[in-house]
């Protein structure tokens, strides 16, 4: 009886509700939409027909014009992720190492605050700041830093600023945790062994913070790639992102087949970039290891050499 109960409450059964939920509310509906990507739009009143299956929508979605938008989106997200990383590394280091421990909690909470203010409201704050008639622009003009005022709103730069802003806390938090975990003792050991602050940072702190870097990049890159709200508010005609292209196909053009194909391409592109990034990281890491590792030759280089591998 007890065994039976244990089986029922065993890990597999525990996972059952989650499984069922995910299958019923994610796999089925999403698979349906993805299935549409093999269909076509037969006429203006019909969103999709599945009578002839083909890959034509994929080639349509990859025509030069929309391909340009896909590439622009990838550029915005990759550049955005890198900028987030560059801003966050010194910041997280400061927070984890330089700031007094009793203040850390407060500052960390402050990093979270923007995260708790609505995404759109924050973006609207940027819209006001970047606008040509806004106060920032007028101040710049007044102190003579700029002649015609700011000319950023409705450009790709505005989108870049907006997305970096919106996803920055998602990079800072994991980086902070990782750097914090790297620990004071190891850094001190490094200093004691004669390494300078730079060397300590690059050979001790940063490598130990690598898991944080990885999860931060994933947390920023993935949602950024599918974002279109920021681009809608700040982007205008030139800053459009793939998310908008997809939304247009479903909302305006009513071409579900093409929209679904574009969505699949976006997901694949996300995965490919993540995989490439992982590969790059792996290569970098093994290179670093080779460069930094100290080979300790065993005292008796005897017959056991071959079996060490």
């Amino acid at each position: 009886m007890k065994r039976f109960a244990a089986r029922i409450l065993g890990p597999g059964a525990l996972a059952f509700p989650t499984w069922a939920y995910v299958v019923f509310f994610f796999v089925i509906p999403v698979a349906l939409v993805l299935w549409y990507s093999f269909g076509y739009k037969p006429d203006e009143f019909t969103t999709v027909s599945m009578e002839q299956l083909s890959f034509d929508r994929y080639s349509e979605a990859l025509t030069s014009s929309s391909l340009a938008t896909f590439l622009a989106t990838l550029r915005i997200s990759i550049v955005g992720t890198i900028i987030c990383l560059l801003i966050s590394i010194p910041f997280a280091y400061w927070l984890a190492v330089k700031v007094r421990p009793e203040r850390r909690g407060l500052l960390l909470a402050l990093v979270m605050v923007p995260f708790w203010t609505n995404f759109l409201v924050r973006t609207l704050g940027w819209q006001i700041m970047l606008s040509n008639e806004g106060f920032v622009s007028k101040t710049l003009q007044a102190i003579g830093l700029s002649d015609g005022g700011l000319d950023i709103l409705y450009t790709r730069t505005a989108v870049q600023i907006g997305v970096v802003y919106n996803y920055l806390p998602l990079m800072i938090l994991p980086l902070f945790v990782a750097m914090d975990a790297a620990g004071r003792h190891l850094r001190e050991a490094s200093y004691d062994l004669g390494a300078g602050p730079w060397k300590t940072f690059f050979t001790v702190t940063l490598p130990l913070a690598m898991p944080g870097v990885v999860s931060g990049c994933l947390l920023v890159f993935i949602p950024l790639n599918g974002d279109y709200v920021t681009a809608t508010v700040l982007g205008g005609a030139s800053g459009s992102m793939a998310g908008q292209l997809i939304a247009n196909q479903f909302n305006t053009a009513q071409n579900w087949a093409l929209g679904a194909a574009m969505a699949v391409i976006l997901m694949l592109a996300t995965l490919i970039v993540v995989a490439l990034g992982g590969l790059l990281l792996w290569a970098l890491r093994s290179l670093m290891e080779r460069l930094n590792s100290v080979r300790i030759t065993p005292p008796e280089p005897a017959v056991s050499e071959g079996s060490r591998a």
Binding site: P90, A109, G125
Partner: protein, 280 residues
């Protein structure tokens, strides 16, 4: 000396980042006192926006809808995610259901939100109209179910991370001492998972409160969440009321954070630990 300049540099950088993080929020707070009709064109200082915002039934009910959906979906996602997380942490390496679940949950995370939105609407309609499960026609149910879907993965992964390092012998000991599996689960497993569960609940609450794209697809009138209200206002002329209500919500959030901080200090957990649990 060099060390001091370097430290000063770091502090300066930290301050700059905080300015960057808070600049747009400060702008919104400042413009919430605009007496003009359009948010971005400043007319004069006053509390008009606060008064008309709080008296605007539609705005108030959208904020309430958002809170209801956030609480509901956080509860649902937390229950499902906790079960899933504990199960995954206990699973033997390479079990098919564990691999499958991890893969599926990871897929939910990489799926662009717009795809979720598009998929959900016809599915809810099929369930509600064709299968006569009429409660799927209710806007709040739609919001809760779809938001929970979005955050189940997050909760699951957080709880799994929390449980991963835990020795299974604790549970075995409990069983040896004669506890039923249910008692073990309640008295041993859950308390260990608690920080992860809390962090997950907090995360899913936030994600739901912030969700715009998915909500704009599944929302119904009468159940318009706050971000969707703003999103449709963006396309029209945006009024200072939006900024005013956001400011009120910001103050309430800060208050809640302070309270949480106080409680945590009492219970001996540091906020740093909570953040760590969230992002691990």
């Amino acid at each position: 000396m060099r060390r001091q300049t370097r430290d000063l540099g770091f502090t300066l950088w930290g301050v700059l980042v905080f300015i960057y993080l808070f600049a747009p929020i400060a702008v919104i707070v400042a413009y919430s006192f605009n007496t003009g009709r359009i948010l971005a064109s400043w007319q004069g200082f006053g509390f008009d926006a606060y008064i008309s915002g709080i008296n605007n039934d539609v705005i108030v009910s959208s904020v309430i809808t958002s809170l209801q959906a956030a609480v509901g979906s956080a509860l649902l996602a937390t229950v499902l995610g906790t079960l899933g997380g504990i199960a995954l942490a206990r699973a033997r390496l390479g079990t098919w259901w564990a691999l499958g679940l991890t893969g599926l949950l990871a897929t939910t995370l990489v799926t662009p939100e717009i795809v979720d939105g598009i998929s959900f609407l016809p599915w809810f309609v099929t369930l509600g109209v064709d299968a006569d499960l009429t409660w799927f026609n209710n806007g709040l149910v739609r919001l809760i179910v779809s938001h929970a879907m979005f955050s189940v993965a997050v909760v699951t992964f957080i709880v799994r991370a929390r449980m991963a390092g835990v020795d299974t012998s604790l549970q075995e000991a409990s069983a040896d001492l004669g506890a039923t599996p249910w008692t073990t689960f309640r008295r041993v497993t859950l308390p260990i998972a608690a920080p992860g569960v809390m962090a997950g609940a907090l995360m899913s609450f936030t994600l739901s409160l912030d969700n715009t794209i998915l909500s704009s697809f599944v929302q119904q009138p009468g159940y318009t969440p706050w971000p969707v209200y703003i999103f449709s206002a963006v396309r029209v002329a945006l009024r200072p009321e939006v900024a005013a209500i956001s400011t009120v919500m910001l103050l309430l959030t800060l208050l809640a954070l302070a309270l949480v901080g106080l409680v945590l200090r009492r219970s001996g957990e540091s906020s740093t630990d909570i953040v760590k649990t969230i992002v691990r």
